[in-house]
Symmetry: C2
């Protein structure tokens, strides 16, 4: 078992049970980690599905980022599970491929609306998760505040400027400059 360091106590807290109960259900650390990982992956997949179902692609894009960053700020084992290779989780590759395809789709849709900058790259989502992992670590309250501030700064930078889409162009041509109409 490499690269995964989900605290047992965090898993017990998440499950709402004591550590002893937890060990009755999951006698090995491997079974525990697999279960915790599956729960986190399911939360991420649900956030991504919600985002893809949102009729506003930019709002969907923001929502999945905000949800994942909150998960990361409130669950210390999240980053390790999310970013590690995890050979024992049978369906991990399939889930990751599906997530990557969904994220690429979300990014493209958000670009098509003109709200997401054209030079945004899907790799920037990993960059954001890594950056967020750096600001998480103090108390949960401080982690959440830091994560929210960082996420807001980055989302504002990802957004195209000017920040609101313009109304459609007025039906004007150069002739409106060169051939002024008489005024009454």
């Amino acid at each position: 078992m490499q690269g995964i360091d989900v605290p047992i106590t965090a898993i017990a807290r998440r499950a709402g049970v004591g550590a002893a109960t937890l060990y009755r259900h999951f006698p090995t650390r491997a079974s525990l980690v697999t279960e915790a990982f599956a729960a986190q992956m399911a939360d991420c997949v649900a956030a991504l599905d919600d985002a893809l179902a949102d009729p506003d692609p930019w709002r969907g894009f923001c929502s999945v980022i905000e949800k994942v960053c909150v998960m990361q700020a409130t669950d210390r084992g999240f980053t390790a599970a999310f970013l590690s290779q995890f050979p024992d989780a049978v369906d991990y590759e399939r889930d990751r491929t599906r997530a990557e395809r969904g994220l690429a789709q979300l990014v493209q849709r958000a670009k098509d609306t003109g709200r997401l900058r054209a030079d945004f790259h899907p790799a920037d989502l990993t960059l954001l998760v890594l950056a967020n992992s750096g600001v998480v670590g103090e108390s949960q309250q401080v982690s959440l505040a830091a994560s929210r501030r960082l996420t807001a700064y980055l989302l504002q930078s990802f957004r195209t400027a000017p920040t609101e889409p313009l109304p459609p162009p007025a039906p004007l041509g150069l002739q409106h400059i060169h051939q002024p109409q008489p005024t009454h």
Copy 2:
């Protein structure tokens, strides 16, 4: 000695000497860590002094952030030394107070020019260093690329929009609308 984990090999590499030579000069780990910390602090102070001397406060603000993030991406011990409490370094409190005062000055000047957003808080500099520490960790090449991308996104978000200052207002009043001049 808590919270500091500067690799001995990194210090030797920085000093351009072998580990054996290093141990002759610094027989204890404490003396080594103090020296490494002092060198990093001196680099940061120099970057800050350069920024404060820059006649363009926004350029100075960007330069100190970019320099510190490059130091962090190329020296794995940097974040530990920079962000830790270090009780044995006698002058640390004085240096930190001086750095905090200089940074506050730099932030205020950059705001006064209208280039830095008014709701930027000096605590966001710590947020940036922590976020940057999250993206540093792969090879030095990947760390530098990730750090540069993150820094550019954040600096663009810190900058006020519209991104370039406008030329001065034209000398126009409402009378130019209500009392049109005849055209020739």
